[in-house]
């Protein structure tokens, strides 16, 4: 069963929606100018915000390393376990950095 292929397609589905919401929110929110304090005032304690970006981060952490793995497999001779381990670590890094940011603006 092609787990990576299916995981990448499934997260692409999530990201197509999440990125659109993310960009639309940015464009809408900064119309009149926005400060960091104003952003944090809206995100602190906002559960919907934290859930949305939590899902976003998880989807990115799954999607991006699989795509990067494909690119590296096609464009370099790098194959096998070492490639998979490095990209798993990259996935964990994305997950940690992303969730840290979500928690920071939520709490």
């Amino acid at each position: 069963m092609p787990i990576l292929f299916i995981a990448q397609r499934a997260t692409a589905f999530v990201l197509a929606f999440a990125v659109a919401v993310h960009l639309a929110t940015i464009l809408y929110a900064v119309r009149g100018g926005l400060t960091a304090a104003e952003i944090l005032a809206r995100t602190h304690g906002n559960v919907a915000f934290a859930l949305f970006y939590g899902v976003f981060v998880v989807a990115v952490a799954i999607h991006a390393p699989i795509g990067l793995r494909n690119v590296l497999r096609e464009w370099t001779p790098w194959r096998g376990r070492s490639l998979d381990v490095v990209l798993l670590l990259f996935s964990l890094l994305l997950l940690a950095l992303g969730l840290r940011a979500v928690i920071a603006v939520y709490s």
């Binding site: 092609p2 292929f5 299916i6 497999r73």
Partner: protein, 236 residues
């Protein structure tokens, strides 16, 4: 139409050079006619491959003025305008044996890898299978079944060019016709073969195979079908 056709033909193997010939221009002459005339009248050491001359056997494919084509069904008039020259090279993504002849073993090994042959199962069927022409499976199989194995799609494919393990459009197209063969009893092994990292998921949908297939087959859609089908296999 000028009376003489300038032709540049690849001579050698991976290393080599183009050799120039001047051939009488004839109405309706095909590219294969030109190659045959060069070999018979100008240089008998020229190596190339052909058999049927009528678009059935798939053995005369070459790169003609930069594009992969079946040479027996390509008229010079289609590819050379005015005083242009004709440039003939061996198919890309194959090892060149000599001049215009390429080694196709690896290409057909990939057909075997995808189980690109009918598997009747351990016991013969008790009765004739009824496969109505209007069923979805029959239509999918029909769309790809006329492949003649010429290697044009394989030569045109970018993914094959950068990943020699990629199974390629022809083998995957053949697999798709068999995935849709309701009589076949060897689907599990075939599904495994096409689902790997070098299988259908590696296709980038550049569509060069579909653009250049001389039989008008659309391997891109066969591969897309395999990608879709994989979700169903995964759920089982």
């Amino acid at each position: 139409m000028s009376e003489v056709l300038g032709v540049d033909v690849w001579r050698g193997a991976e290393q080599g050079a183009f050799q120039a010939f001047a051939i009488p221009r004839r109405q309706h002459q095909t590219v294969l006619d030109v190659v045959t005339e060069i070999q018979r009248e100008h240089d008998s050491t020229l190596s190339y491959r052909f058999a049927c001359r009528v678009g059935m056997c798939g053995s005369c494919a070459m790169v003609v003025n930069g594009r992969p084509r079946w040479t027996c069904r390509t008229r010079v008039n289609e590819v050379v305008k005015g005083g242009e020259r004709l440039r003939l090279e061996p198919l890309r993504n194959f090892t060149v044996v000599k001049d215009l002849a390429v080694e196709m073993t690896g290409f057909f090994d990939k057909w075997k890898q995808v189980h690109g042959y009918f598997e009747p199962g351990a016991q013969p069927a008790k009765d004739f299978a009824v496969v109505p022409p209007q069923t979805k499976e029959r239509k999918f199989a029909d769309a790809g079944i006329e492949c003649i194995g010429c290697g044009v799609c394989y030569s045109a494919c970018d993914v094959v060019a950068w990943d020699e393990d990629y199974l390629g459009p022809a083998a995957l197209n053949r697999a798709w016709t068999l995935v849709n063969d309701v009589r076949d009893r060897g689907q599990a092994a075939r599904r495994n073969a096409v689902s790997g990292s070098d299988g259908c998921q590696a296709c980038h949908t550049h569509m060069s195979c579909t653009r250049f297939c001389p039989k008008g087959i659309e391997p891109t859609y066969a591969i897309a079908g395999l990608k879709r089908a994989m979700f169903g296999w995964g759920a089982r």
